[in-house]
């Protein structure tokens, strides 16, 4: 799942965190093919699950096995994808349904009519935003108005961020970013991603999922590194950008969080260690100076941001 949907989400009351984990049942060498590792199509490879951590006691409990991706609504309702089986099997599509619990202790209710490859993204008010994946990791962004009531909001799209009141989203599609009214599905404004950024003068090209929307501004991964957009109900503008040198940061900066005062962006980025292994660091960026300070390098796989993209948040 990566960070297509947040790996760890704090509860609206701040008492706990729900997080995704994937337990491999076999040892995996990413450089080798399945056949080189003795894995055959249909072999069980691993088990995704969602856990809950009580921040006061530290207790860690399983919310659901065979499940991944979650969204936590302001009133405590939690949505997640539940696979038809607990395990992921090599080269088999991991099909399942979207379930919603009114509280973490309540019985799950299916919101999808048919199993498919779903990834739960966020709540937008009372509406649930879910990706449906098809060939080539193509993503359709769906809006669920309730159980069994879904519609396509944007095809081939990344959910960049949900507006603070939950009424709008910014979606990124090949070549264009769109401001979409969640209730009606109407596109309110568009931004041509062929537009150049103000730092390098190069086309922005791509905006990624995992951005953050504060007030009328959105921080998003894309362009030369990070892009700051200004959004009104009828327009999207490129306000600023921060360039990250590929020689220092060989891979993009992900899941940028915009500070409440709009002055800073905090993101994380993969780095390459001396032996070529993957390490990570967070970046603390000042928009005024278009510069970032790199935090300490860590080598723990699974270095992600903890945040709740659902809106309103509380």
């Amino acid at each position: 799942m990566g960070w297509l949907s947040p790996v760890a989400v704090p509860s609206p009351d701040g008492q706990s965190i729900a997080y995704n984990t994937f337990s491999y049942l076999i040892s995996i060498d990413p450089e080798k093919s399945w056949s080189q590792q003795g894995v055959h199509p249909g072999d069980a490879v691993g088990t995704p699950s969602i856990h809950l951590v009580d921040l006061a006691s530290g207790n860690d409990t399983v919310l659901a096995n065979g499940a991944f991706s979650l969204a936590w609504r302001a009133d405590g309702a939690i949505a997640y994808f539940q696979g038809q089986s607990d395990n992921y099997y090599a080269d088999q599509p991991f099909l399942g349904n979207v379930m919603v619990r009114q509280t973490v202790g309540a019985a799950p209710e299916p919101w999808t009519n048919d199993p498919d490859r779903y990834i739960v993204a966020a709540w937008a008010g009372s509406r649930l935003l879910v990706y449906r994946e098809s060939e080539g990791e193509w993503l359709d962004l769906l809006a669920f108005d309730g159980p069994g009531q879904s519609r396509v909001l944007a095809s081939g799209a990344d959910l960049v961020a949900v507006s603070p009141d939950g009424s709008q989203i910014l979606a990124s599609q090949p070549g264009v970013a769109s401001l979409i009214d969640v209730g009606t599905g109407k596109t309110l404004a568009s931004l041509d991603l062929g537009q150049v950024d103000p730092v390098t003068g190069q086309p922005i090209g791509h905006l990624a999922y995992g951005g953050s929307w504060v007030g009328g501004e959105i921080a998003v991964e894309g362009g030369p590194g990070l892009v700051l957009l200004g959004v009104t109900g009828s327009s999207i503008t490129v306000m600023d950008a921060i360039a990250l040198s590929p020689s220092v940061f060989p891979m993009p900066a992900h899941e940028p969080r915009l500070s409440a005062d709009g002055a800073r962006i905090v993101a994380w980025t993969p780095l390459l260690g001396a032996a070529g292994q993957r390490t990570y660091a967070y970046l603390d960026c000042a928009i005024a100076t278009r510069s970032c300070v790199k935090g300490p390098v860590v080598d723990v796989p699974g270095f992600y941001a903890v945040y709740n993209p659902s809106r309103p948040f509380s």
Partner: protein, 221 residues
């Protein structure tokens, strides 16, 4: 001594010519070696990542002299970012890939990909994140034709649109959610028909459709 030098100067062109003829014969033999004889251990695609829209796909096979050579290479693309752990955006993770049981198909009919495809195994990137639904493909219909309109990014047309930062026409369609993409003939441009060459090399090697195959793609930087 001068006589020897004069003699060499007369002989040398002949020697050089003979050497060139021998080398040309060796080269031609290597390039045209029957692909069916190529060893299975050296019969695969090699994808060398340079940039998201300008990387290279090679077809490697073993010649009669036991050399693992490539007879052709094609421009190819993958992803829109360089993080292989970024679903829906990062280029393919490094390593070897088997073909799924659906293997290669000449007339694949999907919901976002059509035509000539090679279906790759799921792959964990370096932090364990699984990449899935991966293909080698182009942009065409299931019957390998083109449906092109004024839209700059028709899903079943290799469009003339330029990739961001690229001055050449027909480069934007090298971008993908992660899959390896190869260009094909299109009414919107006159670039080489790489996909037909890739497909032709595959079938010329005696490889067919709709069956799995081990170690068929090797990806690296």
């Amino acid at each position: 001594m001068r006589a020897i030098a004069r003699g060499l100067s007369r002989i040398l062109p002949t020697v050089v010519m003979a050497w060139l003829i021998v080398m040309a014969f060796v080269f031609a033999t290597a390039v045209n070696a029957p692909r069916a004889q190529a060893a299975r251990s050296c019969l695969y695609f090699e994808f060398v990542k340079s940039t998201n829209t300008n990387s290279t796909l090679y077809w490697r096979w073993m010649d009669d002299y036991g050399r693992c050579i490539y007879s052709a290479s094609w421009r190819a693309g993958s992803g829109v970012t360089t993080d292989p752990c970024q679903l829906n955006a990062g280029w393919l993770p490094n390593g070897w890939y088997d073909l799924k049981s659906t293997g290669h198909q000449d007339s694949y009919s999907g919901t976002s990909i059509w035509g000539r495809v090679w279906s790759l195994q799921d792959k964990a990137c370096s932090n364990g994140t699984l990449r899935t639904q991966l293909f080698i493909h182009t942009e065409e219909t299931s019957s390998r034709t083109q449906i092109c309109s004024s839209d700059p990014d028709d899903p079943q047309c290799w469009d003339s649109t330029k990739a961001p930062g690229d001055s050449a026409a027909g480069t934007n369609d090298f971008r993908s959610e992660g899959c390896i993409k190869v260009r094909r003939q299109s009414p919107e441009g006159s670039w080489p028909d790489a996909m037909s060459a890739v497909d032709s090399d595959w079938h010329a090697a005696g490889l067919g459709q709709a069956s799995g195959r081990t170690d068929t793609v090797y990806v690296h930087s």
